[in-house]
């Protein structure tokens, strides 16, 4: 393996893009190489390193700087227009949509983007590179004989009928903190009225609120949680121990499918390089690596057709609605009133 992975301290990385609070930063390829592709992403560097290394194979003239930040910071970094990033990958579809709509993304047309299904791209500006179901995780030990829920109604009934069992043992995203959590909650709210019933019931159970899927999964495994709602399924499959306690449930009334999207920053220095890497991510080789090495399900229309309950979150201007600050504030207030009872 010729790619050298450097994990640098926060302070060091902060020099490059001051506006962004950087979580992690990795360098791939020859540090002396002439051209630099700078990727800003919400996905952990470890997850993406096989892809970057495969892309760099046979291209000694290139190196890749891979910066990880939260979805809100990724959005703010692009919005600041200070540049420094070429390709922006995020799981916050609404924020990515907002960036693309407001003209922060360069158009990119290639056979690879043309081959994407219509639902997996918006114009020639925003492209999905992975599709990830949003699931419920339960601890079979924690349920101890109670039936597994298959729909949101089941879930509401289960929680309402067993308050003593689930009190303090239910977890979900805090939408005020997590961009993904906000997206899931708003999509749930618009998809079905039963979401607010569920939120009310969860509110009676003193739920634990989380910033990441990983934290919820590990709390299921340690037994601190019996049930986690709206967890990224791809992380769950990767992190749950095989034969262990945690079980992944795709609710049958509907299960949202998150599209991890990429756009080319209009203010970046290497838009062509960004396009090449994007094409690689969308190529069959790249998609295979995303599925096998990064553990993220590849873009696959067949899989969606096979699961009628799977609903990809649509890449359309509707996503902009919940980015509106007034709307966001209203939603968070309502959510807090229902769940945290503050």
């Amino acid at each position: 393996m010729r790619g050298i992975v450097h994990t640098l301290a926060l302070i060091l990385a902060g020099q490059l893009a001051q506006a962004v609070e950087i979580e992690d930063r990795a360098e791939f390829g020859d540090p002396e190489a002439g051209r630099v592709l700078s990727v800003l992403s919400t996905t952990d560097a470890v997850v993406f390193s096989p892809l970057v290394e495969a892309f760099l194979a046979g291209r000694p003239d290139l190196r890749v700087t891979y910066t990880v930040a939260s979805s809100q910071d990724v959005y703010d970094a692009v919005l600041s227009r200070e540049g420094g990033f070429d390709l922006v990958i995020s799981s916050a579809m609404d924020l990515q949509m907002k960036l693309a709509n407001d003209g922060f993304a360069s158009a990119h047309v290639s056979p690879a983007t043309q081959a994407l299904p219509q639902w997996a791209r918006w114009r020639d500006h925003l492209f999905a590179i992975a599709q990830e179901p949003v699931v419920v995780i339960v601890s079979t030990r924690g349920l101890a004989g109670l039936p597994e829920p298959h729909t949101r109604s089941d879930l509401v009934n289960l929680l309402r009928d067993n308050p003593e069992r689930f009190s303090g043992k239910v977890g979900t995203y805090d939408p005020a903190v997590s961009g993904s959590g906000y997206l899931f909650a708003t999509q749930d709210a618009r998809q079905s009225d039963s979401y607010w019933r569920l939120a009310e019931v969860m509110g009676t159970l003193s739920p634990r609120l989380y910033g990441t899927s990983g934290a919820m999964i590990s709390d299921i495994q340690t037994g601190r949680l019996i049930l986690a709602y709206n967890v990224l399924g791809s992380y769950a499959q990767a992190l749950l121990e095989p034969g262990g306690d945690g079980r992944v449930i795709e609710l049958e009334d509907f299960t949202h499918v998150l599209l991890r999207t990429a756009l080319i920053d209009r203010d970046g220095d290497e838009p062509e390089l960004a396009g090449e890497f994007l094409d690689y991510l969308l190529s069959d080789e790249g998609q295979t690596l995303i599925e096998t090495r990064a553990g993220l399900p590849r873009i696959n229309e067949q899989a969606l057709r096979a699961g009628p309950h799977l609903r990809p979150i649509r890449l359309d201007p509707g996503l902009l609605v919940y980015v509106d600050p007034l709307k966001r504030q209203r939603f968070l207030n309502e959510w807090a009133a229902a769940v945290t009872r503050r």
Binding site: D102, G103, R123, G318, L320, V321, Y322, K327
Partner: protein, 461 residues
């Protein structure tokens, strides 16, 4: 085809060209009409969706005791994605202060009224936008707040749809033009067909055919045909007047010549002086030649006249040959020429004009005797071969001396070796005219062993 006619343009080309110009104009009109209708239709569609989105947002506005509540419905923007993938912009103002959205989004120039949306176009963020705006009053803490909702969208999808439709309209226009062009060519051909037919019918006529054109022609050609018929009529009259004049002249010359000849013969018999007798003989010979020439002119006029107005009947060529030879017997005797007939026993029947055929045969025999030296033989041969009767007049005369045989049959054409013999040059012309009138052929050739072979062939009855 154009036989010396000057070509000044082509009706067909002009017709096709003008039809093509009309078709091109119509195709162009079709293209622009379809394009503009498509443009309006797509714009109306986009407007109505934009209007619905703006109205949907306006209807969710709530008043209250504390503040204006703005709750943008998800569908309001989601529906904008239905037509195509266009960028979406919005702006919500309360009493002219931007509450949310894009604070620099252009506002309509016209005043707003009520909940019906007004539509306008504007440029924003390097893009052409179509916008819809609605106004609504909301009661907030007892006061009337005027809220304006503006929703805008780029026009990429609209332009894509209009572009597709324009392509189709262009294909339609081109197809229309191609069909019209093909039809124009066919139309020009069918319109001009009667003209071509008429030209062919007139062109097919024989040289003597001066009948008026009687075939039915289209109304537009009637003046032309009437003028043509008038011309043909005048030509016929002029021609027949000429022929009549020649015949009259010949007739009027022949009669006094006969008188002169008779008087000269009487004078010859009475004259004793040898010099005077010699002079009288040469006078008689000259009168004879003049009489023959006058006779041939008359014959020619007769032949031309009768070619047009034939009196056909059954003719036995054998009997005709005998009769002609009998009439020439005295002349032949004068030159010691043996005049013989070689013909089958049975009659050889043809259908034709006796006067014409006799005239042809007389001219051939006359020529043969005239150009034969004394004490030779002139033979008239009659044969039947391949449904034709063949008349050959053979002599041992001076022949053609290498002259072109066809050149000799022209009017007033004479051979190069006959300057010492008086002749009009009309004889062979008469024979050729007869052959043509009887649908036969005439040829003249050098005879083996010296002399001439003249051959007239006529279809059998």
């Amino acid at each position: 085809m154009s036989h010396g006619a000057q070509i000044g343009g082509s009706i067909r080309r002009r017709l096709v060209l003008q039809l093509l110009v009309v078709a091109a104009i119509l195709s162009g009109l079709l293209y622009f009409t379809v394009r503009s209708v498509a443009d309006q239709a797509v714009e109306a569609t986009q407007d109505s969706i934009l209007g619905s989105a703006a109205i949907a947002i306006a209807e969710e506005l709530r008043g209250g005791d504390e503040a204006l509540v703005i709750d943008i419905p998800y569908a309001a923007f989601s529906m904008l994605g239905a037509v195509g993938e266009d960028r979406v912009f919005y702006r919500i103002l309360a009493d002219d202060r931007t509450e949310t959205g894009y604070a620099d989004l252009p506002l309509p120039q016209r005043p707003l009224s009520g909940l019906s949306a007004i539509y306008y176009s504007a440029s924003y963020d390097d893009a052409d936008l179509r916008l819809a705006a609605v106004e609504r009053s909301v009661l907030v803490a007892g006061a009337n707040v005027r809220v304006v909702v503006v929703v805008g969208q780029t026009r990429t999808a609209k332009q894509a749809i209009v572009g597709r439709m324009a392509n189709r309209a262009a294909a339609l226009g081109l197809g229309f033009f191609a069909i019209a062009a093909a039809l124009a060519v066919l139309t020009a051909r069918s319109v001009l067909a009667p003209l071509a037919n008429l030209a062919e019918a007139v062109g097919r006529r024989g040289p003597q055919d001066l009948r008026p054109v009687t075939r039915p022609v289209p109304l537009e050609l009637v003046p032309f045909v009437a003028a043509l018929n008038g011309f043909i009529g005048r030509l016929g009259v002029a021609l027949s007047r000429t022929e009549t004049f020649i015949a009259e002249a010949a007739h009027h010359i022949r009669t006094p010549l006969a008188t002169v000849r008779a008087q000269a013969e009487i004078a010859l018999r009475q004259a004793g002086d040898d010099r005077i007798r010699a002079t009288l003989r040469s006078v008689i010979r000259a009168v004879d030649d003049s009489a023959r020439s006058a006779g041939q002119l008359l014959d020619h006029a007769t032949v031309v006249y009768r070619s047009d107005q034939r009196a056909d009947e059954d003719i036995d060529l054998g009997a005709l040959v005998e009769a002609v030879l009998r009439s020439f017997a005295p002349t032949a005797e004068l030159k010691d020429i043996a005049l013989t007939a070689d013909r089958p026993e049975q009659p050889v029947k043809v259908w034709g004009d006796r006067l014409l055929i006799e005239s042809a045969l007389r001219n051939l025999v006359d020529n043969a005797i005239k150009y034969s030296p004394p004490d030779t033989e002139v033979t008239v041969e009659l044969r039947e071969a391949k449904l034709r009767a063949i008349l050959r007049v053979l002599d041992r005369g001076r022949g053609l001396a290498g002259m072109d045989a066809s050149g000799l049959t022209g009017r007033f054409k004479r051979g190069a070796n006959v300057e010492d013999v008086i002749g009009s040059g009309l004889g062979l012309t008469i024979v050729r005219e007869v052959a043509r009138a009887q649908r036969g052929t005439f040829k003249i050739s050098q005879r083996k062993g010296g002399g001439t072979c003249a051959e007239l062939s006529i279809p059998l009855r």
